[in-house]
Symmetry: C2
Subunit: 304 residues, 2 copies
């Protein structure tokens, strides 16, 4: 059975493990801090690979950013990775095959092969964290598009409220349905809605209200927090309806930090009441923190 | 070479032709009025098939409505087809294989195999007519979803203006970017915008302004008509940006009656300025009026 060295390259830490063709982690997971300079990062990648190279068949990276169609380079990297990351040709890092895939795509593949979407040839994994990411399985294959950049569903415009996204565009789904989006909704609602005046947070400046405050407020049955969360949920649901109508998937898998605050049954019911295709299942992710590593390992083992 | 009897079943007429594996029409196209009763329609289908059956290998239908995953039935039919259309099992109509596919999906396949998207394994065909339809090619395969109903991109919510769609939901892309959408935008703008007062249509009641008026107004350089068309175009572009970011397609092919009023180069430039994936080409459809017949014939010849 093939053994794949899987490396999750993030802005703060680099995680790696050896994974078999079944997506099982077969050694102890290692963690490193992400070096700030590209040369140091490249050297760390090489050191990790050298350490394991005799024991593995290939290396697979899961990383943020847009990966090229041949899975060798991060063409457009995110600001949390060192300058020059988009110049690195991953295939030069090892004598054995090297594969790189976007982490949201890899996570969707892990859910499809080992997680909540097993056997569901049309499934979508949506990551609700600081941003909104998406990985799409269509006819049992990953949707990568012509250039490898497909799946940028966080940039889908879902309404006309005029909110400016971190990408500088307006009304991206990501600017509403992410954790950051919940915070923005909380701040806007604090200014526009009377419920803030009687809220447990009414001594705070609106701009100081956080995502955590709203979650805490929900636990304390605070009316303002419930109102904010309901607006956030409605915006989340609008995007889920859109992708369900386009993809008619068996399931949408929710991963990421915001996932634990939603009631998937309630959301599934609301989505299914609004769609024009057949009912979809909404489920939480199962592949866990290592979904990116597992998914890229499985994709690499299919490719090589 | 296989010969396919292709039948386009629409609400007003039934069109048919014999098509070869290359998507070429090899006999004279026949046209019939669509019977109002399901028994008469079924009999017409049988008569057409009987007439050609010895000369063909299979029959392929392109039709409106949601087609089931096994391509044998229209599970959810549109109001312009006779009652009971969704009960018809197309496979019983002939001793030889019968295939049925949604007309928007079939048209997308025709563009991919013989039209404007040849060789483009990730391409989208958008039909701008009375409504907005979509057919999606992903990794060289048709996106049908789990139930065959995928591609309902006309139901994508794109803004929060609150317009009621013919489907009773609000803010569907279809309610803005279709011909019907242009008319609604014209009527709303006539009421809300001063440009109507000096328009060549200012003697009309706003509710009597038509899609054709606006096109005529564009030709006459009427400011109100230009304003209306620009709003319509912006709503069209919002949807095109959304699907480009999700699918990262080589091309989006525009078909349908409204296609002839748009400048694809200008729209392509605007879309490419706004997307986060790599540039897309926007092109007009080439497969023509018989795209549905050609596409379903080619899909059937792949299946059987």
């Amino acid at each position: 059975m093939k053994k794949i060295l899987a490396i999750d390259a993030g802005g703060t830490k680099i995680t790696c493990a050896i994974i078999n063709e079944n997506g099982e982690i077969i050694n102890e997971v290692e963690k490193y801090s992400t070096p700030k300079k590209i040369n140091d990062l490249t050297q760390l990648f090489k050191d990790i690979i050298t350490k394991h190279e005799t024991n593995i068949d290939m290396t697979a990276f899961a990383t943020a950013g847009a990966v090229n169609i041949s899975n060798t380079k991060v063409e457009s990297s995110t600001p949390n990775m060192p300058d020059g990351y988009n110049q690195l040709d991953f295939s030069t890092l090892s004598k054995k095959p090297v594969f790189v895939e976007n982490d949201a795509n890899a996570a969707a593949w892990a859910e499809y092969k080992t997680g909540s979407a097993i056997g569901e040839d049309n499934s979508i994994t949506i990551t609700l964290g600081t941003g909104v990411g998406g990985g799409f399985i269509v006819n049992g294959k990953l949707l990568r598009g012509k250039s490898g950049r497909g799946g940028e569903v966080g940039s889908m415009k879902i309404n006309g409220k005029g909110r400016i996204c971190t990408c500088k565009r307006t009304d991206c789904w990501e600017s509403y349905a992410s954790g950051t989006g919940l915070k923005a909704t909380a701040q806007e609602t604090a200014i526009s809605d009377n419920s803030f005046k009687t809220s447990i947070f009414n001594s705070k400046n609106p701009q100081d209200i956080t995502t955590y405050d709203i979650i805490e407020g929900l636990n304390q049955n605070d009316e303002y927090s419930k109102k904010v969360f309901n607006i956030w949920k409605k915006d989340l649901i609008t995007g889920l309806i859109n992708i369900t109508n386009i993809f008619d998937p068996e399931s949408i898998i929710i991963s990421g930090g915001m996932g634990k605050f939603i009631n998937t049954e309630e959301i599934e019911k609301t989505v299914n009441d609004e769609i024009v295709v057949s009912p979809v299942k909404i489920k939480l992710a199962k592949a866990g923190n290592y979904a990116g590593m597992i998914g890229c390992a499985l994709l690499a083992s299919e490719k090589f």
